[in-house]
Assembly symmetry: C2
Homo-oligomer: 206 residues x 2
């Protein structure tokens, strides 16, 4: 299959072509490499995993690449996500405009704290988590986002699995194991802090 | 140099050995592979980039690996970070306990909104951003975290650069270019949503 690192890089290409729409008709792999601080050969190699994108000697067609990459990522049609845990992090994600720009709309936000139920966050009213399973049965939700404390996360993941959501994006500091039927991404921002620390340590030694 | 993907995986090994401390004295690469949903050969290959860790036939010594990896990541001594932008995301990060557990302490949190100045967030009082440059001159800060709106992010990054912080972790949706002297990690949670969407699309085709 396609190497893990290439799958994780694909969104960057999609965002780059999205940003170029309306600004230019085509772009060469060298020009794209300069935009993305990477190399032309890396771009050609990465994109070759996803089909033959016409370079035709004059470069990538911006509109064509944006459309094709959107289809490959599954965002050529509107996709929905829900957030469970309407605390600080949940609210920051619900209010983040870029999810909507790349094709993901917030369908619902859930919590168990009566003082937040009914509040409007990111244009959506907070519902009680008791109604999550029924909501998922009535609405096509592709991604469930978990922003609850660690002790609630596995229980919420089980509701998502039983309801057949497509995948889970988990922010709680507990690892939720993916299955063949249910892909899970566990976000560890601590790891970004630690790898940045490594770069700081090793920059000094260059 | 060491491949980018290996540097980004190193924190996971550190976290894993940290979690094993006190529970077991040693662990074989096969047992570790099972814990981390990866392969023994990947572990041996990754760790070989960072020096000879004694496998001595019986496995990795948990205490030794935790200490050595902590040194390699630069967290064997207390490290400090500051947060600029005390909004929803800034507060969620300031209150996240795992940063402290892996060796990073919050030294300061800054904003420009008078209604939040003086509030206590994560045990630290919010200061006005006008005092950021002076604060950085008086305190050793390894990492600056940016959780402001996009239009303020480049200005904040310039204050960090001029003050000589080690590196920047940027959450604002604008790319801050790293330099040889100043490593920068731009966090795009949208990319995690999109790569998860790819996995959902391609799971169905397996
Ligand atoms: N991945 C990272 O690097 C990172 C960074 C910051 C925070 N976090 C984590 O994200 C999570 C949220 O952090 P926060 O600062 O927003 O916390 P918070 O306390 O502000 O919000 C948590 C919310 O979850 C709700 N909740 C609790 N149990 C629930 C349940 N069973 N169903 C639905 N809602 C429930 C609470 O009522 C609360 O509103 C925490 O687990 C935190 O550790 C992770
Ligand atoms: N990377 C991601 O995937 C992701 C996810 C969610 C949010 N975000 C981004 O993170 C940022 C913060 O989001 P939020 O929901 O916390 O927003 P917010 O509006 O709740 O908080 C922003 C804070 O920054 C402060 N601020 C503005 N200008 C400043 C300056 N010059 N110096 C210091 N502080 C300043 C504001 O007063 C406010 O308190 C935004 O840029 C948002 O787009 C990114």
């Amino acid at each position: 299959g396609i190497p893990e690192i290439v799958i994780e890089r694909l969104p960057r290409y999609y965002r780059c072509f999205r940003a170029l729409r309306g600004k230019r008709e085509k772009i060469s792999s060298h020009e794209l490499a300069a935009e993305m601080h990477t190399s032309a050969s890396q771009i050609r190699l990465d994109l070759s995993h996803f089909g033959g994108f016409g370079l035709q000697g004059y470069g990538y067609n911006v509109e064509e690449l944006h459309t094709k990459l959107g289809q490959i990522l599954g965002v050529d049609q509107a996709q929905y996500y829900v957030i469970v845990g309407a605390g600080r992090l949940g609210r920051a994600i619900a209010n983040f405009p870029v999810f909507q720009e790349v094709g993901f709309s917030l369908a619902g936000i859930f919590d168990i704290d009566d003082s937040v139920i009914g509040q409007d966050i990111g244009g959506v009213r907070v519902s009680h988590a008791d109604g999550l399973a029924r909501f998922l049965g009535e609405h096509p939700v592709r991604i469930g986002i978990i922003t609850t404390p660690a002790e609630a996360a596995l229980g919420v993941a089980e509701i998502f699995r039983a309801a057949g959501v497509g995948g889970i994006l988990n922010f709680a500091p507990v690892d939720i194991a993916p299955t063949r039927q249910l892909p899970v991404t566990n976000i560890h921002l601590t790891d970004r802090l630690l790898s940045l620390s490594w770069r700081i340590m090793h920059r000094e030694q260059e």
